[in-house]
Subunit: 195 residues, 4 copies
DNA sequence: CTCTAATCGAGACGGTACGTCGCGTCTTACG
DNA sequence: CGTAAGACGCGACGTACCGTCTCGATTAGAG
């Protein structure tokens, strides 16, 4: 049968099987666009990924683990891109980069931020950002560092989620401004005085 | 004639809270202080409430429904207390009231905001706040009303959650200031100009 | 205490409403024509009877109790009518009376014998018939009395059930003959000899 | 035949009895010896079988389905053994074989016939026997074929049940005679005439 | 005719079993 | 070997019905 031929063709991309991993991530992403995370079953993921059910558990201990994996890698990108915000070098430029990046991959981020994975995303983002905070202490702020991080991370994600949910979304440029004014500037504002 | 009287009184419209409902809410709250929502089973709730398992489903279709109920009523309190924020009459005073209230019931709010129920709380808060927004449109803002609401609601909750999680929490007075600076003032800031 | 007084009054407490009893029996019968006994719920019975749910349990401890009650009374009629069979006075006449009676109330008996109540009917019939056997021992038979009774009762009921299930049922006259040949004559046959 | 060729046979056609099925049947049988069918819960069956609760429903849709399965297979044996009765070749020999077989497995049959499974057994027996009737029509009888089958099947089962219930049961030989006289001969009797 | 007490309707409730669903483990055959 | 296929133990879910209970409303008999 053709299959025997196909066997020859079959290269060992599977070696260490990144194919499986990729397929699973892709499947999860695809499903996240349709329904909330907790309504997605492992069977659906593996079916969509064209992968055996048990194979899932060889790669990940858990459904959440896959999501965390997905989240960590994507958030990683995002974070390196926006680190300058924390360094206060050029906040406006950083938010612009952030928005441009998100806009470019809006399908992905819409799934991640509005699909029921948001909580995990937030956790992962927070984890990484707090990590970063450890390394670059900036003690002379009017608010505790971890509160600042928590605030800016969560509100950033919420604002992005709002953005991607809109039927007629504002421009990335505009959102960058909004982000900067809502999540960055309040933290940096030095004088707590009158507005 | 008696019929009309009797019927009005009798119908189970009022069917308020014949102990079961109260017991269930209390039990859920108690459990939320110990573990995350999704780890809590309906059986645990009913056992803790001293109520039959099936009875749960006579009141609520769902575990989430109970939580929503709980959230709605508590959030209702909170919202009426903080409505002046939206009316921009006296934002600082409002945040103070808010913080004082939360502090007074910090056991309750800690459970609600840090226990895994946060997502539902947020939804409920958002729902009510957006409702309120419908009734008091304030179109001359530099950002869309629903975005403003989303931002302030979610960041308020996150900040409160952070607060209640601290081993050595700042004073309500202080948190009120923080809240005002992070979640209220940025929205009200009229000039979008440079800082 | 008041109890002693109450007790005096209490005497004919239960005898209040034979209407309830009648209604329940009727409702059960009606439902038996539609579905099997175990699929009938007490709620259905009471609803059909136009009687409060709890009222059922004031009359009967059980769903089965109602059925037994129904069965016992109907079977009672049937049995008195067919006793002569056991006395062997005139078996053919007895079976004819039996069939005529069943035919006359065929709606009732169809429900009882083909509706899922058959098992209870059989038990009740057996109980009464074995009772009767106790009183009129006839030891000089080629088979044990209780086996004879069991055989004739159960096969009689089965044959009647078959009869009432037919789309185009044979005449009562004919069925009486069948009954006599299948359930009575084999028992009475004196000589066990060859045919 | 094709079957010899393939593992195709092995496929999932044979899906048959990977221990679970066997275990479940055995457990049900064991329980039937102790209590009536409707008092037996699926949990008991699975516990006794050493099988997961949900697994039960992967094999059978229902508690009754398991019983039907059990019944069908056992009745199948019985029926093939007694088919000659219907062919009227040698009725006495057939009943003897029947009784011997039942006696040999009297523990099994006692459970099946006196334990509350009798109704299902009867249904299954009837179904198979009526099937058989379809294939070997014998129209020149004084009674309708299905009535004859119904009568002999049900009374056979009742008589066997009586037998197995006795503290001091008669011999198989004797019961075969009884069976023959009560359930077979009346049907075959040619002349409907006087006795 | 009124007062009192029993009864009834309505239905909430505790409880038991059901049948379903999804997880994560494990086995088996295959390429 | 690793993978596809899928059976299995487990445990929570939500449903259905039972039999008990409480609560007003109704009604009948005693005064």
């Amino acid at each position: 049968m053709n299959q025997s031929i196909a066997k020859g063709v079959r290269n060992r991309a599977a070696r260490g099987a990144p194919r499986t991993q990729t397929a699973l991530r892709g499947a999860l992403l695809a499903l996240l666009e349709e329904q909330s995370l907790e309504r997605i079953t492992v069977r659906e993921i593996t079916a969509r990924a064209g992968v055996g059910y048990a194979t899932f558990f060889r790669r990940y201990p858990d459904k959440d683990a896959l999501l965390h994996d997905l989240a960590a890698s994507e958030i990683g990108n995002l974070l390196t891109m926006t680190l300058p915000i924390f360094h206060a070098t050029d906040t406006v430029a950083s938010t612009r980069v952030l928005c441009a990046y998100v806009w470019e991959h809006r399908a992905l981020w819409k799934a991640l931020l509005t699909g029921g994975a948001a909580a995990v995303l937030k956790d992962e983002y927070l984890r990484l950002a707090l990590n970063e905070l450890e390394r670059h202490r900036n003690p002379d702020s009017w608010l505790p560092g971890d509160l600042a991080v928590t605030f800016s991370v969560t509100s950033t994600l919420e604002i992005l989620a709002w953005w991607l949910k809109q039927g007629d979304p504002p421009s990335a440029q505009h959102m960058a401004e909004v982000l900067e004014r809502l999540t960055v500037r309040p933290i940096l504002a030095r004088d707590a005085g009158t507005r």
